[in-house]
Symmetry: C2
Subunit: 716 residues, 2 copies
């Protein structure tokens, strides 16, 4: 149990669950559920279990005031449907009548049902009806859920999820994560809810399912939340038929040791190297050589003596010295046998390019390869991948073509097609890359191993990952949280929608999780979720270029009023804040711009201004310590042509960075085609700039802000 976790009465719950199991049941009765809740300090209304009508009358008298009667039967799950509930009953006669009615209805509904009695419960006061629950997600395990009750929210699907157990702060963040969060604070004169009590409820439920993995589901629906506390009149608990499977986990040190040898190898063997053009084993050899890899390259092929001028070996066993990586370029059916030799040689990493495994239905073949690898402690990348690039090593272990623009972005993709898009995009935009890695079937190495490495890798400043599923959602979240503290992680989760999720299923055979769960938990892990492929690529390209903002005050400086309006729209759309300009700063801006220009924010310097106006206002924006980020809107004119704007902006930004005024600057260039070159020049000199769009520069700035917040570098 984590330090500071909520401590429930575990022994009492253990006893109840064991008793339920002993009866072969997976559903707890209401009184059992209530006892479990009490053991974890979850507030439930005063009540009694009445086994006969006199006991019910006595119990109602003890409770004083109106009560609710509910049938108690392990055989009746939906009490209301069975007519087994009577609400607002008051007085001995009414209780007596209600008892008989409830029991009679239940008997008629389910003739053979065992009836343990009737719950007599104090009627709760009016309040907000909320839902608190926990489920077992196939990707993330125990997950706690929170929503506002009632038909409307059921229709609008306004619910939020967190990994269980939640801390107090996380529980409170759930209250604020609903679209209708305001309601809980009290609106239009309606009272709010006791937020601390609600957060406590969430914390206790989450701890309960964490302490008892066999609890598959908890449902407190509704929880009545008033300004004075919370109370759960119905506690529904389901047990799992079988315990979840544990997945093999490696320690951080183990992961780093093999990842270091994979990403910075000194010696690479190519299993199935070939002299024959068109073969994958040829392309891989050619790319390793043409890419300029500075370590040893050992072709392995029993039928050749020499491949592309390098001595070829019969078997990897014959290769002299240590080998860090074996790249496989042989048909699927031969992989396991060759892997056995690789394992015996003590090679720590196998890169399995071949397809023909789980993705084509050959799960057994893949399982065999995994077993062979585990026997020798070899870690596997793939199978069914294009390979990988480690640009700072000049390593191109792929059948694609080398990529040589070294930089700070590490990109991974689950799909080969997306990998090719990454390569093409990077090449055309000259994106500086530290690694591109194909993950394919993820039979072993996956996103969490790579994140663990990229967090350490000093060349990597930003990680971008395309994924369709996660083998182990918790391991991912753990690795992501650790990495996000140091560098931004962008995630494109494919299969977001129901239709998309179906396609993911048919593609990888993996069950894609429900997107609502993914969305909340990825957010919780601090990664930046890209809405689409192109956004992921642009974020990856631009994030390392932008310095980290030190505060929320954004100022737009624009030569085109029209761009100013659109840039303002984009600022709000991205959850950013336009600075309220103080009077002295407003006056300072006004001193540079024509009298009919608009100060305030956007600062509209107007269209006909010379370079000196751009220069003066941009410099002011960079120098004033109250401003934290600049969004520039350029308008192509003869007075200030595109390359003049690019040159002056890049120069001022560089000069001010020298002086320590290091702020993110993004720009939207509206103009004729020359603005494209101007943007390329600006990008190369540290200003994130795009032509013909006001949305993209602000979206990138928004992504940087989201990361800065997640990394704790800004408030909230």
């Amino acid at each position: 149990m984590a330090a500071g976790a909520y401590e429930g009465d575990r022994a009492r719950v253990r006893g109840i669950l064991d008793a339920v199991c002993a009866e072969g049941r997976t559903t707890l009765t209401a009184p059992e559920g209530r006892q479990v809740a009490e053991a974890y300090g979850i507030a439930v209304p005063a009540e009694a279990l009445a086994r006969d009508v006199d006991a019910a009358v006595a119990a109602a008298a003890d409770l004083a005031g109106p009560v609710v009667l509910k049938i108690v039967s392990p055989d009746i799950t939906h009490k209301s449907d069975a007519g087994g509930v009577a609400v607002g009953v008051e007085g001995a006669d009414a209780v007596r009548a209600a008892f008989h009615r409830v029991v009679g209805n239940a008997r008629a509904y389910e003739p053979g049902a065992r009836i343990d009695g009737v719950q007599v419960q104090r009627l709760l006061p009016a309040g907000h009806e909320v839902i608190v629950g926990a489920v077992t997600d196939p990707t993330f395990g125990k997950v706690v859920a929170f929503g506002l009750g009632g038909t409307l929210v059921e229709v609008l699907k306004d619910v939020t999820f967190r990994l269980a157990p939640v801390t107090e702060a996380e529980a409170e963040s759930m209250l604020d994560s609903l679209r209708a969060a305001e309601v809980l604070r009290g609106v239009r004169g309606a009272p709010g809810a006791d937020r601390a009590a609600l957060a406590g409820q969430l914390r206790r439920v989450s701890q309960l399912v964490d302490d008892f993995p066999e609890i598959a589901e908890v449902d407190l629906n509704p929880v009545i939340a008033t300004p004075d506390g919370t109370c759960a009149p119905d506690v529904r608990i389901l047990l799992a038929a079988e315990p979840p499977r544990e997945r093999r986990r490696y320690t951080r040190a183990e992961i780093l040791t093999t990842m270091r040898r994979l990403m910075r190898p000194r010696s690479v063997a190519v299993i199935g190297a070939s002299n024959e053009e068109g073969k994958i084993g040829h392309s891989v050899m050619r790319n390793l050589i043409d890419g300029g890899f500075r370590g040893d390259i050992h072709p392995v092929n029993p039928k050749a003596d020499d491949i592309l001028g390098r001595k070829a070996y019969q078997s990897v066993a014959d290769v002299p010295g240590e080998v860090d990586v074996a790249v496989f370029a042989i048909p699927a059916k031969f992989v396991s046998a060759a892997l056995d030799e690789v394992g015996r040689k003590g090679v720590p990493n196998a890169v399995l390019i071949p397809s023909g495994f789980a993705e084509t239905g050959e799960q057994a073949l893949q399982d065999e390869v995994v077993r062979t690898a585990e026997r020798h402690g070899v870690r596997l990348l793939g199978p069914n991948i294009y390979g990988y690039y480690a640009t700072w090593q000049d390593l191109c272990a792929t059948f694609c073509t080398p990529y040589d623009v070294k930089g700070g972005v590490a990109l991974t993709s689950q799909s080969g097609g997306i990998g090719m898009a990454i390569l093409g995009f990077a090449r055309t935009t000259r994106t500086g890359v530290s690694a591109i890695v194909g993950l394919g079937n993820k039979s072993d190495l996956d996103e969490d191993d790579l994140l663990t490495w990229f967090a350490e890798d000093e060349h990597t400043e930003c990680v971008a990952m395309h994924l369709e599923d996660l083998k182990d959602g918790r391991a991912f979240v753990e690795a992501a949280r650790e990495t996000v503290r140091r560098k931004p992680v962008v995630v494109l989760k494919a299969g977001r929608t129901a239709a998309g999720a179906r396609a993911a299923g048919s593609h990888t055979g993996a069950l894609a999780g429900d997107d609502a769960v993914y969305d909340d938990i990825l957010r919780q892990s601090g990664v930046i979720r890209a809405p689409g492929l192109y956004d992921m690529l642009e974020y990856a390209r631009a994030l390392p270029v932008l310095p980290t903002p030190r505060g929320d005050n954004i100022v737009i400086i624009t030569g085109a009023g029209g761009s100013g309006v659109l840039l303002s729209d984009a600022v709000v759309d991205n959850g950013l804040r336009l600075m309220e300009i103080p009077d002295d700063l407003d006056a300072a801006f006004r001193s540079y711009i024509p009298p009919f220009g608009a100060a305030g924010n956007p600062v509209d310097i107007t269209g006909g201004e010379p370079p000196s106006t751009y220069e003066a206002t941009i410099r002011l924006g960079l120098r004033d310590p109250r401003i934290h980020a600049l969004v520039l809107g350029y308008w192509h004119t003869i007075v200030t042509p595109p390359m003049v704007f690019a040159e002056l902006t890049a120069r001022i930004v560089a000069e001010e960075r020298e002086r320590g005024n290091d702020k993110p600057v993004v720009a939207s260039l509206a103009g004729d085609v020359e603005v494209e070159d101007a943007c390329a020049q600006l990008f190369a000199r540290g200003v994130v700039a795009y032509p013909y769009t006001t949305e993209r520069p602000v979206a990138v700035l928004g992504a940087k802000y989201r990361w800065a917040r997640a990394a704790g570098l800004l408030g909230r």
Copy 2:
């Protein structure tokens, strides 16, 4: 009144409103509101006005059952705040007590208030609380609003608007436009609402405000909607202090006559033409000549005999023959005098490039120009614009540079900066353009005039408009509806967000409408709203390339499973539908793809396939009449390189179009940089294709579908 409109008792309402006016009031009392409602058949609960306590007791007895008592006073607007409401009162004693309490509270709350009595109203049964209202929008005039009542929806802002009056079909569409629309149909066993009665209520309220322009606001909050009908216990009606200003309107014939001469001129005069490089009057002359305009170009300049080889005139009066357009390139202060000469010459159109009018605070100068123009019947484009292009006339009446790619897109922008972005984007993508028009301050000609023209213009296949405000929302909607029947209209409305709207205010001095109203009413008019500048440009470029779909069945054919998942996501995001593939069609696809490929939808032909597999499956997709649109996902491989894919796809699409199988085809190309050329080739040959993105091709297809639906070419 339109045919089929709801007919209320206008005389009765006229009498009530006149009486209210006569008293100098702008707020109707509850009984007055109720009478107005009754005159328009809006259901209100049975009630009586009791002037004393005995009358109240008698009225309650007549109504039988519990009643509500409400104070009636012209001086008390918020009855609840005044303690002037008592709910659920039953029995003579209780009514007596409640009457005294309500009157006493009101007297204490507002000592001088005139008290007309107490409304005694039947207590309504429980039902859905909805809000029906009407407001006077500064842009759109009378607008009817509908939402679900209660705190939650107030927090979530789930309301919808339509121009008043609404037809029955429009009223019904409002019920379905709420995010929580399901609620009204009844969910989770809760009863639904009487939809016909609700729609009728909306229709009647909308007709009321249309019939009586002086009604500024109607508020029925709540309306109680049950399965048996609707009822409005509170009717609040406010009158406008002054009547709205009428704007000068031109007939369709008048608009077309001048627009034809503007967009297809035979003779253009340049007021302020100049030989001096760097002057706008020089650039305009140079561009008219270099652009290859085939009509007459007449420089006007009192200080020159000859400009760029053309005879210059002292005054436009001296120009021989008729002149269709006078382009102004002189400082703002000289415009009015020169315009007077232009008017006397009988020139129908003045294109006012100069700035220095309303946008710099010189509203008076602009008003003077408008008055001069109206005196002569000259229509004005601008001021404060870059000018305009009419490419099919080789006309470049701007200070920018000529554009010569003729095609089907007409683009307009309110801002000069956005106009420059349009030009640059068009040039770099070789977008075929019919016109680019700057609207600037819109002192006269605006979007509705242009829409009216573009609807007729045979060269224009698609219209894209950037706008910050609308001078006359109703005229726009009217023109848009008419145009959308024939061709798609894309709108980028800037100033969507609160921050954006503020910036729009400071830019044009125009009051930007609330975006919720804009959004609903633009949708109602059938235009496609672009979420950002780049989207508008891409939609404009691509929509004319795509044929119109004839049904909803979309099939994805992909070589990259990873793209298939992302394309599926995009299909759902854009409100499109993946076809459920019938068994025979599934079998037909399967016959072409490897056994481990996935049929269903997406059809995953797998990555290593030769051109023949793409060819066979695409052809099948085009030929099968049950499929209506194709989304292709290409994966760069050695077996099927990008240009091979492009060539085969373009060829098959062309062949099948020849055979009458004319369906929209969009493609996402994932690969190395060669895919960029492949996309350009595909685009040029009728397939909308983009590299490195799965989102954009589907977004464009979605835009085409939205238009097809709005134009009535598809169901719904």
